[in-house]
């Protein structure tokens, strides 16, 4: 019973960098907490009331001392802030070439899909040593994808995409928690992240998905929903060609430029009138209510895969 953990497993690259900063802060915290406790203790004991005729001296203030205890914490927090912000950028910038996996949260389960097409529920298999980027959304309320061993967490919102990335460093099974309160079974919206050596992961993938890769599923949808009738690869159709648009700046009819990220693609499909591509009429119908979150993600995987 006494062999309970006091410190979480370190199983990702960001776990190491997070803990490094945490230990620095722990040092700062210990220093100040001990300083205050010790000073209060010493003063209280040393100057305890013994003699009622003793009149304590009048010390109104010491500006130099005040300046010191404003300046020193100030200097320290600048360091903490800078370090924390750099770490945050590291957390928020997936390295190029990360494997893109898709996550949909709903009350109260996690649905995940690999680019190769495998779907899982409440589990996610990932390879060790390769960066993985998760593109996530929710079907209902806000959830949060939290893997303590990786020190990653990101809220998952309905109507939008959020993402996070990690690179596992040790094979094993790790807790996956939903950490944003989402209703009755919030505490049961848990699962496992299985990190596997790359070879094992490839073998696991080898099982293959019946419906093929996400992009090919997306392509089938693209044809079935009639997108292909307007979005011809030649660019001669009624709508613009979609090859290679992902990540590019798109000149809009209102003169602004929008980056074609996941949220843009989503909006273009569900609410095409919101941002009109320059030079095209506003004729694309909305697909609101006709595609599920997962199908949207497949469409997106397809659009990303089309070469210009």
């Amino acid at each position: 019973m006494w062999n309970f953990p006091l410190f979480p497993q370190q199983a990702s690259t960001s776990a190491r960098s997070t803990d490094a900063l945490f230990f620095f802060l722990l040092g700062v915290m210990l220093f100040f907490a001990v300083l205050i406790f010790v000073l209060v203790f010493i003063f209280a004991i040393k100057y305890r009331r013994r003699d009622t005729s003793y009149v304590p001296p009048v010390i109104v203030q010491l500006v130099s001392l005040e300046a010191a205890w404003i300046a020193i914490p100030f200097g320290l927090v600048i360091v903490i802030f800078a370090w924390g912000t750099l770490l945050y950028f590291e957390h928020r910038s997936p390295p190029p070439g990360a494997i893109e996996m898709y996550v949909v949260g709903k009350q109260w389960m996690w649905k995940t899909q690999h680019p190769e097409g495998q779907r899982e529920i409440n589990t996610l298999h990932v390879p060790v040593g390769r960066p993985v980027k998760l593109i996530m959304t929710s079907e209902d309320v806000i959830h949060s994808f939290f893997v303590p061993a990786f020190r990653v967490k990101q809220d998952v919102l309905p109507g939008r995409y959020t993402s996070l990335w990690f690179q596992a460093t040790a094979a094993g099974e790790y807790h996956l928690f939903c950490s944003q309160y989402c209703g009755t079974d919030h505490a049961q919206m848990i699962g496992t992240v299985v990190a596997m050596e790359d070879a094992d992961y490839q073998r696991w993938l080898g099982g293959g998905a019946a419906e093929g890769t996400m992009a090919s599923a997306g392509e089938r949808l693209f044809n079935r929903l009639g997108c292909a009738t307007c979005h011809l690869e030649s660019g001669q159709g009624r709508g613009p060609a979609l090859g290679g648009i992902y990540g590019r700046g798109i000149g809009l009819a209102n003169g602004r430029v929008a980056t074609a990220d996941e949220d843009y693609l989503r909006e273009s499909i569900l609410n095409p009138g919101a941002k009109i591509v320059g030079g095209y009429p506003n004729v694309m119908p909305t697909y609101q209510g006709q595609v599920t979150e997962e199908q949207l993600m497949q469409l997106m995987a397809y659009i990303k895969s089309v070469k210009p």
Binding site: F43, V55, P148, S179, D185
Partner: protein, 542 residues
């Protein structure tokens, strides 16, 4: 007009307690001191209701399985625990009880500027509390105290609307109290009582009032919009209707972060009164402590986004909010250092209020320092919504503010009731609370960094041992909180009569008799001294 009562000499002089009798004379009183007592009773009631919820939470968490309550019940428990503790206990605790009692006394006024509005705000509070209790009794609410949309606005099918209305109403009580204090402190100070002669308690009440009036309307509107979404099915925050759920979080935290300073500033004010009194020394760095209250109140409004670092907020906004959060920590640091320095070369005695004040300094420091971890962008990713956050704020709110509140109650109890309580019982209770508190909440830092998410009634078994500590601590804490209730009650009847100034403290409130007469001061005092001139007073025998 001030009646010409002479300094009372008879056995039981006329005071605000025995000036008139009957329920009516209490329920319709416009005397700030009686209104303070009305609040005291109501707030104590709410504290114990919230405390029972806390105990039930801890009981469920004794085991990793959900064996005591269903998921729904548990979710309602922590929601109502949080809501009651925050909106009906801690926010009004010091301002409405001690603030109401002391503000006019400390500035030498006969009452607040708007006594009727003061009574009105008590009744608004009571009506809001009634709505809340209705929604609790009717079946409760399960949204968490934060009411995040779209869960609260479209998915939850509990009594959210009644609860939201209750909080909306209570908000106006807070606004009117703050308004009253601001005007009173500006306009009703006794002649000679300049800003820099004010006791620091008043500076912090003033800063608190600023937050109350400028923050509260935002959460009122946010909650009104949630109610409208629920009742009328219009989309304001609902993403399916094009809304942005983060907008709710912005409007909510625009109030609710500053509100945490509503919950701590008055406590800091109390500590700034107690520490000089029991060190027989002027407070160190008066003007720095005074201005840091204002700095906290103003800067505190600019940091709310630190609750949304992983919520899908822009990373650039996150950077701004993080930087400002660090800035707002500096004035708190200034206060802690100044209190510590006040002890230096003092004549320190360990009466009950002082023990609470010293406890406050230590526990607030721990809570505040862990706030730095949360304000650090890269680290909050890991600890957000885990027990680390729970431990952080309980350290500040329970270890800090509840301690300060109890310290203040013990400090001014003789003034309020005219009776002395048994000091040894007081010190015992303070020690029990200190130990129980740390046992409850320190393990939560560890279990939080391990990754245990908050608002979970079932959890992986490896977290159990730490949770057992926590539950054990909570029961000690419960006993600790029960004690003052008992002996303070006891003192009402059996306690020795208190002189006007039992601690030989400075401050105008101690110049009025204990308990003070309805008019507070027969003649308006003329202030020709600075605050905390302890060097000019005798040291009482410890």
């Amino acid at each position: 007009m001030s009646s010409k009562t002479v300094e009372p000499v008879s056995e039981t002089p006329v005071n605000y307690l025995n000036a008139s009798f009957g329920l009516r004379s209490w329920l319709l009183t416009i005397d700030h001191k009686r209104i303070a007592l009305l609040y005291l009773v109501t707030i104590t009631l709410f504290f114990f209701v919230g405390g029972v919820f806390a105990l039930l939470i801890r009981l469920e968490l004794l085991t990793p399985r959900g064996d005591l309550f269903t998921a729904e019940t548990y979710n309602k428990l922590f929601t109502m625990h949080g809501l009651i503790m925050i909106f009906f206990f801690l926010i009004p605790a010091v301002p409405a009880v001690l603030g109401n009692f002391l503000v006019p006394l400390m500035i030498g006024a006969r009452d607040l500027a708007f006594p009727r509005i003061n009574l009105l705000s008590y009744y608004i509070y009571a009506v809001g509390g009634t709505f809340t209790m209705y929604s609790v009794v009717a079946g409760g609410v399960d949204t968490g105290w934060t009411f995040y949309t779209p869960y609260s606005s479209t998915y939850s099918n509990t009594h959210v609307t009644a609860m939201v209305i209750g909080i909306f109403i209570t908000g106006f009580s807070s606004i009117l109290t703050g308004l009253n204090f601001i005007v009173t402190i500006h306009k009703m100070r006794a002649p000679g009582l300049t800003w820099f002669r004010l006791p620091l308690f008043l500076w912090s009440i003033y800063a608190t009032s600023i937050i109350m009036i400028l923050g509260t309307p935002s959460v009122a509107m946010a909650l009104a919009l949630v109610a409208m979404e629920r009742l009328l099915h219009i989309g304001i925050f609902d993403p399916r209707l094009g809304g942005d759920p983060l907008l709710f979080q912005h409007l909510f935290w625009f109030y609710s972060h500053p509100a945490v300073y509503i919950m701590i500033l008055p406590g800091m004010g109390i500590v700034s009164e107690i520490v000089p009194c029991f060190s027989r020394k002027r407070i160190f760095g008066y003007s720095f402590v005074a201005f840091s209250s204002l700095a906290i109140a103003v800067l505190g409004f600019l940091v709310w986004g630190h609750h949304m670092f992983v919520a899908g907020q822009s990373i650039y906004a996150g950077i701004i909010f993080s930087a400002l959060s660090f800035l707002v920590a500096i004035p708190s640091a200034v206060k802690v250092f100044n209190w510590t320095a006040t002890l230096y070369k003092g004549s320190v005695s360990f009466a009950t209020p002082m023990l609470y004040a010293l406890g406050f300094i230590g526990l607030f420091t721990i809570g505040g320092l862990t706030g730095l971890v949360l304000a650090t962008l890269g680290l909050d990713i890991h600890v957000h919504d885990t027990y680390f956050v729970i431990a952080h704020f309980h350290y500040i709110m329970v270890g800090g503010m509840v301690m300060a509140y109890l310290g203040g109650i013990h400090f001014w109890w003789p003034k309020i009731t005219g009776r002395l309580y048994p000091d040894s019982w007081g010190r015992l209770a303070a020690a029990i609370i200190f130990i129980g508190f740390n046992l409850t909440f320190f393990p939560q830092f560890i279990v939080g960094y391990l990754g245990m998410p908050r608002r979970y009634h079932v959890y992986p078994p490896e977290f159990q041992v730490l949770n057992v500590f926590s539950t054990a601590g909570a029961s000690i804490l419960g006993v600790g909180y029960l004690l003052p209730l008992l002996y303070l009650f006891w003192s009402l009847k059996y306690g020795a009569k208190s002189p006007a100034n039992p601690w030989d403290a400075t401050g105008l409130e101690w110049m009025a008799p204990s308990p003070p007469p309805t008019q507070n001061f027969p003649v308006t005092p003329l202030v020709a001294w600075e605050a905390y001139e302890y060097e000019k007073r005798e040291v009482p025998v410890a």
